[in-house]
Symmetry: C2
Subunit: 337 residues, 2 copies
């Protein structure tokens, strides 16, 4: 498979003495980079969504810890601020826990830099593996719908759900790609469409609310999404709108695939009911691109994740393997201690 | 019921010698009016969405015919251009057919003006009646979710689905209102939130893709929407996203109500499969407020209506009465010739 043709973007780049982040808030109109020379600059970039996507957040945070060590900043408060930057993505906690274990074992800055590099390299390798595993499930000539951005921009590279789409396209299994715009931040519209165009994969944008009508028209056989946290029973937290897609997919007999590295699996969380859903500022819904679109004084409810219950998920793909019809037993068998 | 407290907006106003239309493209930032002194100005306003909402389109078109007669314009081409302005809304065809019958019977301009006024007055009366009928089905203390704008802006006044919400709020049956933003035109965000604030009804805006998560949280008992066309079996064409809401409502045991005047019922259309779905310019998805948000060269699929099948609809409310669990037999009994 010539995957490289479809994989040219790297949004999180270590530059020897600082971290370089592609500012995803400015895409697609501008390719602007943020040079982070202190851990708190990374914290700010995570909180303000300059870097987003659960795996990319974890990788950036790992580099931030190494950066703090290199600069001889106090590590405990730096980690604590990083941990608080985004509550839902478990990869952030996973990466920070992993760095913390090395700190506890007395790792020097060079060792922490090696660990951050390892986290990044492993993520890329996991994505390529998931791409193969996921693509192998898709019948040739299929159409797929994805949500949010789960690509190179959201990971070390290649992507999770978008990695399956890259691999499936390269293998000739996928020949139609649809992307939901993903209100309110428009990650699908702004980022996924940009990324797919950069990498030469033809795609069509749809309004999020057009997904069921698209499924009814028969042109998509799979919905493929990423995850921000997967509970021990397979319930999956992901970008708001994922739940609605899972319900509509079930109604139409369209298959539903979740693609995420095993670092996204949180066996300490029993079910989706226990997952904290991040509520963000209503201002994100009340205007677009800095322009107020809703009457002054209006209120909005802005949850940015929801939970697709395991019973609506046909398959969870991680780098460790594929779980069909996920439930607690199958999850325990693959991810239990 | 003190409905007047919640009903102060009139978007289509005959001014004795011209038609005054509230330009809905400029709301909520600006209350700007278009003075139409020729029928083709109304045609343009309908095509370009300055006036929108199936009943309001029909009323504006009726006034346009009267205006053409008053100005001694040739009537046949004016009607033909009006008819082509929007394909999905059956009310447009219904109103034009009604005006055509009067033209065929030799009506003079004064008689055509009276007929347009009658169409407008009957729509307002129908909306008040539907408001009562619909509200009576809602248990006190309920929460509701609506989509698009179906209010005074979309009708002669009071509204269809929003009329039920007005009446239900006045009667103390509804105490929580949620409105989906309704991409891509944002009628929910721009128009419904504005209209509800004008009329003193508290509401919260949600992203369209947050609807299923909202239903799961248990705060809404009804989804209440309007219609652009109702087929002879009860299948309902309405704003894109309606179908997805109907599927999610069924999944959660939330009731689904369609509210529309009988002029929206098209007994000549057997099922939803026969209804033409308007596809609009992909540019509507590729930018917001004139600002390009998606990479140059990207493609989009932009259907602006979809079909909620009758089996997902709990009740259809028209001014003639309520049909529970709609099907061909019940529809024929109420709307058959």
């Amino acid at each position: 498979m010539d995957n490289n043709r479809h994989d040219r973007i790297r949004a999180v780049q270590w530059q020897g003495d600082h971290l370089r982040l592609l500012d995803q808030r400015r895409l697609p109109s501008e390719e602007s980079w943020i040079a982070c020379r202190e851990a708190d600059q990374v914290t700010t970039a995570i909180r303000d969504l300059a870097v987003r996507g659960a795996p990319a957040i974890g990788i950036a945070a790992a580099w931030a810890v190494a950066l703090a060590a290199l600069r001889e900043e106090p590590l405990a408060p730096a980690l604590s601020r990083l941990r608080a930057a985004r509550p839902t993505a478990v990869n952030l906690m996973w990466a920070l826990d992993r760095m913390q274990r090395h700190i506890d074992a007395g790792a020097n800055p060079a060792a922490l830099l090696r660990e951050a590099q390892a986290i990044q390299d492993e993520d890329l390798a996991a994505n390529r593996r998931m791409g193969e595993l996921g693509a192998s499930l898709i019948a040739p000539g299929s159409g797929v719908l994805t949500h949010c951005n789960t690509g190179s921009l959201a990971t070390a590279g290649f992507g999770t759900a978008l990695g399956v789409i890259r691999a499936g396209t390269a293998a000739g299994r996928i020949d139609r790609v649809y992307a939901g715009e993903t209100r309110p931040w428009q990650q699908g519209a702004r980022l996924t469409m940009w990324e797919l165009m950069q990498d030469g994969i033809a795609a069509q944008l749809i309004a999020d609310s057009a997904a069921a009508h698209l499924m009814k028209s028969g042109v998509v056989q799979w919905v493929i999404v990423g995850a921000d946290r997967i509970a021990a029973n397979g319930d999956t937290a992901n970008k708001i709108g994922t739940y609605q897609l899972a319900i509509a997919a079930k109604y139409h007999g369209v298959k539903f695939m979740v693609v995420a590295p095993s670092s996204t699996v949180d066996m300490a969380t029993g079910t989706g009911e226990e997952i904290e859903i991040e509520l963000r500022d209503s201002a994100e819904l009340l205007g677009t691109g800095g322009v107020r679109t809703v009457v002054e004084g209006a209120q909005a409810w802005n949850p940015v994740f929801d939970i697709a219950p395991a019973e609506l998920i046909d398959v969870i793909v991680t780098e460790r393997g594929v779980i069909e019809r996920p439930n607690s037993i199958a999850m325990q068998a693959m991810f239990g201690c």
